[in-house]
Each structure stands twice: as structure tokens, then as C-alpha cells.
Subunit: 344 residues, 2 copies
Amino acid sequence: MVTMRDVAQRAGVSVATVSFVVNGSKPVRDETRERVEEAMLALGFHRNPLGAALARRGHTRIIAMLYPALERPLTPTAVAFFTGASRRAREQGYDLVMWPIGNDAEQVAVLARTGLVDGVLLMEVQLEDPRVDALRTAGVPFAMIGRTAEPEGIGYVDIDFAATTRDAVARLHALGHTRIAFVAGSEPGYQHAARTRAESAYRTAVTEIGGPATVIRVDESPAAGRALGERILTDHPGTTGVVILNEHAAAGLLIGLAHAGTSVPRDLSVVSMSTSAYMAEMAEPRLTYLRAPGAELGEWGVDALLERILSPDHAPRQRLLACEYVAGDTLAPAPAGAGAWAGA
Amino acid sequence: MVTMRDVAQRAGVSVATVSFVVNGSKPVRDETRERVEEAMLALGFHRNPLGAALARRGHTRIIAMLYPALERPLTPTAVAFFTGASRRAREQGYDLVMWPIGNDAEQVAVLARTGLVDGVLLMEVQLEDPRVDALRTAGVPFAMIGRTAEPEGIGYVDIDFAATTRDAVARLHALGHTRIAFVAGSEPGYQHAARTRAESAYRTAVTEIGGPATVIRVDESPAAGRALGERILTDHPGTTGVVILNEHAAAGLLIGLAHAGTSVPRDLSVVSMSTSAYMAEMAEPRLTYLRAPGAELGEWGVDALLERILSPDHAPRQRLLACEYVAGDTLAPAPAGAGAWAGA
DNA sequence: CTGAAAGCGCTTACAG
DNA sequence: CTGAAAGCGCTTACAG
């Protein structure tokens, strides 16, 4: 391994000077700099970040993205978070790695104490997220993609699930739908913040248009979607519209509906929230959906995190993004005569 | 930050002794050990891995999984690799992170030189993979999930694509199919090793049963699958069976076939190779498939890598796994009268 | 503008 | 069984 000492020797300067050149941390005379650079090139020097990190008390220029839900496949949206974040981090001279650890505070604390990462980006945030306290206690800078119930003082970027849900309901209502069900994921003991906010916005919106609130939970899997599709109109007769926040189950839902003889969108309209083009194309008919801005969330999440790392005294960056509507083949006017709600 | 010095001071011993206790690297008298342990507990000491790594010339007990294809969503199979590998690494006292870097040698070389990881696990291996040379040059231990054209001397674990392909063709042939097409992914300038081996096994197998070899490439996306389904029987009339190695396109293929009025499996049988239950359920009808042993691959990949790290002189571990057949709803006897091939 | 030196937190021959 | 000391590769006040 080529060290700074080797470079210093060859260039006839001290290791301090080499360090100044490498980091641009102090002005160096042009002629000296050139000698150092020449030596680095000739020797193939690359600074050892371990030594650098130790000397500067821990800064590694690595940030970790914590993704807990690795039992399920990553949605295209999650992958887009990751690639967006990764690109942005690299632009800023940081490396971003995905660290697959569970949701419990203990594992997060261990990671934090290792000192191997300068900051942490949290995904799949819950309303009350134990990781937040763990990171606070450990004093590790962090930001969230998503947000807890009370995100005051924490940097985050999140989808505006309330606005997105209102949009979904409004689009159905504009086509005459009033009996609209809401389908979301179900993990026991897991208060996914996005789902909670969307569900509450749904209840408000559907009440405003005079319809009943019907909330359905299914596992995040194609099989669960299929099963739901086969029974949804039996369980909830009269429903003409579905807003679904469960990307893993959406395609299966349409398959199950077809099995049950329900024609989409003639008999039932479906709008899928926080979805990707990939998943829309996976479904038949193609989903009408609200596109999750995955890459943007990743990029801005990194920005929010770097702000915490570099300017801990600034107010944290907080930002909400709405999903954009993308027309597909699962939204149509409510069937004639279905508009009036005959009671529960 | 609590350091070894703090612990040593409190316990009335030297930092060396603390280190011996922490690492179990030398015998320590029980009574001394207890004092040290008590001090560590009281102070909440956790060894700083940066210092440790530097002192022992670089060992961080972190291994990186390199996954280049982050433009597409991760398949459930890829996620299973990752979780399997992650679990196994943790069992062995290592942390595994996913490092999203491109396929080019330069980025790999940079990562290698940072000294931040003890070893590297390569995914999405190409026949001639530039990363292999980069890692060899850098002297970083590595193993592959997948394998290059000439994997001699490199640890790996891979799916036995030749055997799996033969199996797929044989199962179709047993039901009277002889005109069997092979559908795989297409990325320009990218010699995916799995695809190449499967394709060559397909050509041999299909020739042996007296059928024509029809190789079709489509992008790895649901949309490309749809488009192919709509034209496949027009482009390749008389085909009664399809073996597909393209998990992202398989569900779309079935959708496209339905659009074209082709009934699966009555008119056309489909067997999907190296697939997961998740993707099988995404498709309608449910795919008949050969299950990719994702978690096992990940675990054994880590084993192969740790072997390289810990016993560089041992012969590298190399292992092939076959995919297991899972019955679904896309395989049926060839349509009557379709058995004979009337020529190209 | 440049250098000598201390120090980051740990490990590990070497002595005893 | 335990300790004093050198060293891992780098950064950074402090002098000059």
C-alpha cells in the first residue's frame, strides 16, 4: 500500500504538505503542489479513508440507507429511492450503502456506535419509530424518507399522502363514484406512517362526498391481492371504486376481480396510489395510478441528511411531494344507478 | 466517546489488557477479566472499529455486495440473495452492505482501495467480467453469485442453468411439445453469463428432441413482455411452448398473449426459469416455474467469500444449485396435431 | 507557504 | 498473565 509517507519522500516534502494537497485544506505553492501530484500519480497513491476517518474523529463520508422490510421484494419505487439517493450522494462526494437491518432500536444503535457512517437515511418510517430515538441518543445525524407522527426538528422528505389520497378520491367522485373502498397493506404491529395518513385522509374525503368509509387490509403480496379481488364485491357489495395503497397486491387484485367475473373498469374502478410504471404495466388492465416520485425522494432525502451533517444548527429541511396522476385503463365512470348509497 | 483508555483506567489495567479481553486474543486472569468487563459495562464501552481496522491493517469485518443493475427493480430472487447473504454474514460476525456501483472496473477499484471492506460478493456476473480483474489486481478477496466463462480459482455459487434449462425443455417435451421457443432478457453490450449458458443448453436440448431453435430477446420489463406476447405467435407460428428466463417480462408476456387471443396453456405452454413464487402469482394464469434458490445462493455465496478471506490458500468453494420445479397453471399437453414440425 | 509533532482508538510483538 | 511502547495512515493546531 502506498502511503502519504511514500509520496512525501518522493516529492521531498512532509506528509503534512501531502495532506494539504490531497484535501485542499491549506494553500500550497504551485511548484510544490505539482511535485506532490506528480509523486502521487507515479506511485498510484490513494488516501486510506480509515486513517483519515480516525484522524478527523470519525468522518467516513459514507451514509447508510436503512431498509427494514427486506422480507418482501423491493418495489420499483423503493429501488428508485435508492438509485436517486445514491446518485445524489456521489455527486456530493459521499458513498451511500444499503444496510439491511431490522426495525429495532438495538441494531440501529450498534450501527451508530461503530462510527462507520456519517449519517443515516431512514426508510419505511413508522408513526412512532424506535429507530429515531436510537439515533438521537447515539448522536448520529439522520433524515427520513417518510415521517413520524411528530417530525419536528427532523429533516425529512415524504410523499404528501393526504393530498394524494384526496386526489384519488376526487377523481373517482368526479366520475360519479361515491362508494369507494380503501385497500392498504397489513403488517401486524407495524404502524406504517404513510398508510395511517392516507387512511385518515381517505375517511375524511369519502365522508365529504357522502359515501361510506370502507377500509380493507391485505398482506403485501400478489396472492393476497388475488384473494381479495375474488371476494371484495361479495364482502362489500355496491362498491364501485377502489383506492389501493399496496403495490404488491394491486396486480393480484385485478386478477382476482377477473376470476370473480368483475369487469374493470366497467363494474369497478381502481386507482393505485404511490405506484410505478413498472407495476402499472404488470397489471391487466394497466393501472390508473398516482406515480411515486421515487428518485426525487431519494435525492432530496440525501440533501436533507447532508444538511444535518454539515449544518446541524440550521433548521432541518422538510419537504412534501405529491404524486402525479397517470392515466391507465382502470378508471371509468361509475356504473349507471350505482351512485346512490342505499345505506350500510 | 468511551475509549479503551477510559476502561483501562477504571479497571486499573493497561489498554493492552482491555484489548485482550475485548478480542479474546490472549488469556486473561478471571479476576482481571471481570474487572475489565465491569468497567466496560459501567462505561458503556464499544470498540471503535475504525481504530481496530487501522491497527490490524484494514480488517473491518464488513463485506459488500455489488449489485450493478439498479435501473430495474430488484427481483424477489435478488432480494432473497441479499437477505440470505446478510443473515449468514451476521451469523459469522460480519456486516453485509449493498453497494450500488456500476459495472465498470474503475468504480470497483476505487471501492477496493478504500480498504473499507474485507471482501466483495459479485452479483449479475458476466461471462467476461471486468470487475473480476479489478478485484484481482486490487488484491481484494471476492466470490461470485454466478460465474464467469472461466471461473477457475474463484469461489462461487451459481444456479445450474444448463440443468435447469434441460429440465424445462424435457418437461415440455414429455407433454408432446417440440416447437419450443426460448425467451431471455436483452441488454446491449452485456454478456450475462446465466443467459448465455441457458441459451446454449436450450439449443442443445431442443435439437435433441428434433425441434427448431428459436431464441427471442426482449427487454426486462413488463411492457416488453406485453409487446412480445402480442406478436410471438405471429412471428413464430407453430410454437407451442415457451421457456422464459426473464422474470420482469413473464407476467407481461401472458397479458400480451391474452390480448392476441392465445389461450395459455391450451394453445401455448409457458415455463419460467429461475423465478419466485411472488412473480408466479403476479401472472395470470399462475406461472409454472423453476424456483430460484435465492436465499441459499446468498448464504453459500457468503460462505465462499469468507473462505477466501479466512483461508486464502484453500481451494475455492464452487457450487451449483438446480432450480426446483413448481407446478402452476401454464403447462399443458401440446395442442393436438401440433407435434410435427413442418420445417422452418 | 511548509514542517515537526501530537493525536485519533486500537492491536500486537516484545519483555518481564 | 500483564504492561510499555511502537505503529496502523492520516489530520491539524502550532510554530516558524
